[in-house]
């Protein structure tokens, strides 16, 4: 990846990797924390590669849906918020039949969901992203069939020390009992 690579993030990755924290109202299950760890690890690795994170317009809307702070949007820093412009609309129309095929073969469960996935992937393509990160299989299938790379979240960090530190800190933050640390891969 070049120094200015653009990487789109789906809502699930932003919520799990950036937003959820130990002060959440929820007591998270160990397998949920494992997903948070994977999202955080992915974001950390991409950030170390100086990638610019891109939030498609509909992702921003989904983030704001849960009592979001619209006021901060006026001066948000550190990410690129692309417009859903005419070119994005054109790409969406072009990849829509792929979405329909994925609904038919069951990769995407509902047509209504597919329409949103199509808009998000089109927005990522039109803004010049090389890849999109999502935990949603449907989004990943649609993206890869539309020519956009859609890798899985990372399972581990190449740097074993960093990997262990991130796992340990996250486990402590979410108050996971030590007896379950091995499930999270903490050594």
């Amino acid at each position: 990846m070049s120094a200015t690579s653009r990487v789109a993030l789906d809502s699930c990755v932003v919520v799990k990797g950036f937003i959820l924290n130990g002060q959440s109202n929820r007591i998270f299950a160990t397998n949920e924390v494992l997903e948070i760890i994977r999202a955080r690890m992915t974001i950390k690795s991409l950030s170390q590669k100086n990638c610019v994170f891109v939030l498609p317009t509909l992702v921003v809307s989904e983030l704001l849906r849960k009592d979001g702070r619209e006021s901060v949007l006026t001066d948000i820093r550190g990410v690129f918020l692309p417009s859903f412009d005419l070119i994005a609309a054109r790409i969406a129309a072009k990849i829509y039949p792929i979405g329909e095929e994925l609904v038919e073969d069951g990769s995407i469960d509902k047509k209504s969901r597919m329409k949103i996935d199509v808009a998000i992937v089109a927005n990522a393509i039109s803004s010049g992203c090389e890849s999109i990160y999502s935990t949603d299989k449907g989004v990943r299938a649609l993206a890869s069939r539309s020519g956009l790379s859609a890798p899985n979240l990372f399972d581990h960090n190449e740097d074993l020390f960093e990997d262990n530190e991130l796992r340990r800190k996250t486990a402590e933050e979410f108050r996971i009992p030590k007896s379950e640390h091995s499930i999270l891969g903490i050594t």
């Binding site: 200015t4 937003i19 959820l20 109202n25 009592d67 979001g68 820093r77 690129f80």
Partner: protein, 240 residues
Amino acid sequence: MPTRAIAETLSALRLIVIDPSSESEDPADDPEFKPGMGLVTISGGSARYGVYSSYPSTVERLRSFGILLKEAYRANSQTIGNMFIPFSRLGEIVGKIGADIEIRFGKKLIFSVSHKNYEKIKSRSTVQGTTTISGKLVRVGSVNNDRCVIRHHPSQKLLYCSVATDKLVDELGQHLNRDVALTGTATWLLATSSITNFQVSSVSPIEQLTLDELTAELRNIGKGWNKLADPFKELEDLRS
């Protein structure tokens, strides 16, 4: 015809003769193609200039361009493709000097660019809309202080943008050599979905934040997610 218009015409012709897709925004001098231009005659309200070129396929390529122009004028909007870029430059010169440009080989007309064919082909080949683009801002200001140049992200090509006000030029100057998001009106070439023209209306930097800073920014936007009883279930149901 002003000297500047002559130079711009030669530059547009160069784009037709060499491959315009490789140097669509800022043509480097091709050593094979060194055209020259000299005034031959002035008569009946028109000026005729002689052009010479050492590039072997010059006339052939200009002829192909002429055929393309005819097709684009008659019917299919997509046929002109990347050649819209030099054509639009010639069209802009026509607008500035208030006269048609005719390219002839001997006495035979190869093609002409007029206000009429420029406007017609332009309206068929391009579409305008508001958007935000990103890339590294590499130059700000010009002789008229009304331009900036961005290394536009997806293509990594230089994109020359117009800037409406001096105030905005000053603001752009503060972000020179940085990654920025420019919002404004784009003209896209339908055939390639590439931007041929961009009028900047605002600029915002894409700052390189530390991961902790970025996390704080995004947590602010999605604050409500931490208050939910079951955010994982909400994520699953989000698009249902």
